[in-house]
């Protein structure tokens, strides 16, 4: 009996080690994305973009092994997946995630383990600063995005604003703070109303906002709750323009909102239908492969792996995590599909253009807002 038991345990251990095996000399990259949950379209689009980049890199002879883990749009899972990838897969670099609250958790783990991390899309201001020199991003931050949104609204002549803020996400509270500063600078008045992630009943929040009779409503949160809120607010918010951040850039937004006459604008990183021919050619290739137009996350996913590969190629030993981290931070003027990316800037946050999109039976390109100088 004992012999049988120990044999079984030995077999189990063997299986476990076999699972986490793999060749020693590979360049291993861990990818953490929200493949399920409230922000699942971000994960899907980013991963599509990463796949496209990977195929191109492989054709050029650059080889790396990607391991994808799902953070389920939850910050606790994000941290755990980062631990798993570092401890069990021995990754040399991490890419991810999308929601700032989740990336914050990954950054904590990465910082402690000394593994370089690049986030494709997390915009919260403090993220790269608190994360230390190994944490960088390839998107603009919310200080810039807040100013873009506030200026856009002020340029339209809207003076009284209410922001609807997801109290459970650092992205939302941070973005609201930045819009407030910039909007007050343009002489506008600004109030906040709150909800939390995974709410489904927004009747009271909608009522609170409607009571203020604002000229414009800023939406600081993600599309899953936001889209539902706009759907439920059709009557109460009729005629009030809505301005949202990049958290609303999702192919799912139109479906959740349903039929509406509301004017909805949002800022984002990239528009597949922007006039730039380079972008359009890329969007066409994406559409041929995946059957739909790319959203911002697809572009950022594509760029993030390319930026990592670019840094790895400049390393003497790309598996030396500290050297890889320094190489990433030395990225200068990399021509990405979402714009030029330099990480030599303060807090390794690139200075990039933003695009404004309009929601009209899907997301349509509206305008480009040039990067600050």
């Amino acid at each position: 009996m004992h012999a049988l038991k120990s044999a079984l345990i030995a077999l189990l251990l063997l299986m476990l080690t076999a699972c986490s095996g793999g060749q020693k000399d590979e360049f291993r990259v861990g990818v953490i994305l929200p493949m399920t949950g409230q922000t699942a379209t971000y994960g899907e689009e980013s991963w599509n973009g990463i796949q496209m980049a990977l195929d191109e890199l492989k054709a050029e002879g650059f080889d790396c092994v990607l391991t994808l883990r799902d953070d389920k749009s939850l910050k606790t899972d994000a941290g755990n997946q980062a631990k798993y990838l570092i401890e069990n897969e021995g990754v040399h670099a991490l890419l991810g995630s999308v929601q700032s609250s989740n990336t914050e958790q990954i950054a904590l783990v990465a910082k402690e383990a000394g593994v370089p991390l690049i986030t494709p899309a997390s915009t919260n201001d403090t993220l790269t600063k608190n994360g230390g020199p190994l944490v960088s991003r390839i998107c603009f931050d919310d200080k810039f995005q807040g100013a873009v949104l506030a200026n856009f609204a002020a340029d339209q002549g809207w003076k009284r604003a209410v922001a609807v803020v997801d109290k459970a996400q650092v992205y939302s509270t941070g973005l609201a703070g930045n819009i407030k500063t910039a909007f007050a600078g343009r002489g506008g008045s600004f109030r906040e109303e709150y909800y939390v992630t995974q709410d489904t009943d927004f009747a009271n929040t909608i009522q609170n906002v409607a009571n203020e009779k604002p000229d414009v409503i800023f939406l600081c949160g993600y599309y899953a709750e936001g889209g539902l809120m706009i759907r439920q607010a059709k009557e109460r918010w009729a005629g009030i323009p809505l301005v949202a951040g990049d958290g609303f850039d999702s192919p799912k937004l139109g479906e959740l909102v349903g039929e509406t006459n509301a004017q909805i604008f949002l800022s984002s990183h990239f528009a597949g239908d922007a006039p730039d021919p380079k972008v359009q050619a890329w969007a066409k290739r994406y559409k041929e492969r995946f059957g739909k137009m790319p959203g911002a996350m697809a572009g950022l996913g594509y760029d993030v792996l390319k930026v990592l590969a670019d840094a790895a190629k400049r390393c003497k030993d790309r598996k030396d995590r500290a050297e890889l981290g320094r190489a990433i931070a030395a990225t200068a003027d990399y021509p990405g599909i979402t714009g030029r990316i330099s990480l030599t800037t303060p807090d390794r946050t690139p200075i990039k253009d933003a695009v404004i999109m309009k929601v009209d039976a899907g997301l349509k390109y509206y305008a480009t807002v040039p990067a600050r100088n």
């Binding site: 409230q38 109290k167 009747a203 799912k252 039929e259």
Partner: protein
């Protein structure tokens, strides 16, 4: 204030719908059926598929009839489907442990809840889906000369791999002329208008359905032969068995009734708030449990009153804290406020509003 009261009433009516099932099952076999929220969720999904795929909206009947019929069918499918699921669940999971004590049954209920949730994720995906908007189908030849903003066309295309892809697109930009022949030749000959159901309508429906249903349930329990059997089982299960009451049938009947109501509630909830996902039943299920406890678990009028009270408290108390006490973020804390109220209430009245104090049998 009145708006917040009405919002709370609408939400509370849905809690009451679910609480009815909780309270009936508890009344009979003293089981807190944590899977009840999942019956509610499955009802919501069945209604979703009925509305999306049955095509009842396309029947050639005068204007509002197809839509009304579609919703009636969705409610029926959801109610019967989740009722059936409850009966099957009871047979497979609860009956074998009925004699094993209340803790075993409670743990089984939690497990069933998780299993159903995960099966739903496996079957229907974890991401939230928008609930189908009602559609008014228009014959292409009857289209107005110039397009309106909410005219959509359905296009069914077959890809090179033989996969059928359905998509939806605007007919033309608002105000442009409609070219009927071109629409047909492009395979977009099926045109519809999307309609939004006003919130007041769904809210009115839920409250009306609740007002109509509770007396029916009360009648079923108090005035029918089966109801008499239910009450006997609830008094003393073993004595009822000795009197020749078919216990298993009575329990299955109770589960069916409770889940039937939850299925209706599931569709009403999803139509009101506009989305469905496998986690849809979790929070409402928990709140309904609270509602049942506030009302006095085991009491049908108690579930009704408890649900409405909880809904109103969740809406009006944060309003008072925000507008009268100046706590701006009160609405972000509405769940915490509701749960805190429950604890306070139970300190004062542990048996709930309509609950009887437990008699200890010697």
């Amino acid at each position: 204030m009145l708006d917040y009261l009405l919002n709370g009433l609408g939400l509370g009516a849905i809690f009451a719908f679910i609480a009815l099932g909780y309270t009936m099952v508890y009344g009979i076999i003293k089981l807190i059926n944590f899977a009840h929220g999942e019956f509610f969720m499955v009802g919501g999904f069945l209604g979703f598929f009925a509305l999306r795929d049955l095509g009842i909206e396309r029947l050639p009947l005068p204007a509002p009839l197809p839509i009304l019929l579609a919703y009636f069918c969705a409610l029926t499918v959801a109610a019967l489907g989740s009722g059936l699921l409850a009966v099957v669940t009871e047979r497979i999971a609860y009956r074998p442990v009925r004699r094993a004590g209340r803790i075993a049954a409670l743990i089984t209920a939690v497990c069933v809840s998780l299993i159903l949730q995960n099966l739903a994720i496996k079957a229907w995906g974890a991401d939230p889906k928008a609930y189908p908007d009602p559609k008014v189908w228009v014959d292409v030849d009857d289209l107005p000369a110039r397009a309106e903003s909410n005219l959509y066309a359905r296009r069914v295309a077959t890809t090179s791999t033989g996969e059928r892809v359905e998509s939806e697109e605007r007919v033309v930009v608002e105000g442009e002329a409609i070219d009927r022949l071109r629409l047909k030749s492009e395979g977009r000959g099926e045109v519809y208008r999307k309609v939004t159901i006003p919130r007041e309508t769904t809210r009115g429906f839920v409250i009306l359905a609740l007002v109509l249903w509770t007396p029916v349930l009360w009648f079923l329990v108090m005035r029918t032969r089966m109801g008499k059997a239910m009450r006997a089982v609830s008094e003393d299960l073993d004595a009822a068995r000795l009197m020749g009451i078919p216990i298993d049938r009575v329990v299955a009947y109770t589960f069916f009734l409770g889940a039937f109501v939850a299925g209706v509630g599931g569709v009403a909830y999803c139509v009101t708030y506009g989305k469905i996902e496998p986690f849809t039943g979790f929070v409402p299920g928990l709140k309904a449990f609270i509602a049942a406890v506030i009302g006095g678990i085991g009491s049908i009028p108690g579930a009704l009153v408890g649900g409405l009270l909880l809904g109103i408290a969740e809406s009006v108390v944060p309003y008072m804290l925000r507008d009268w006490a100046g706590w701006r973020a009160a609405f972000a804390w509405k769940d915490a406020i509701a749960f805190a109220l429950l604890i306070l209430f139970l300190l004062v009245r542990p048996t709930g509003l309509f609950g009887r104090p437990l008699r200890v049998k010697v």
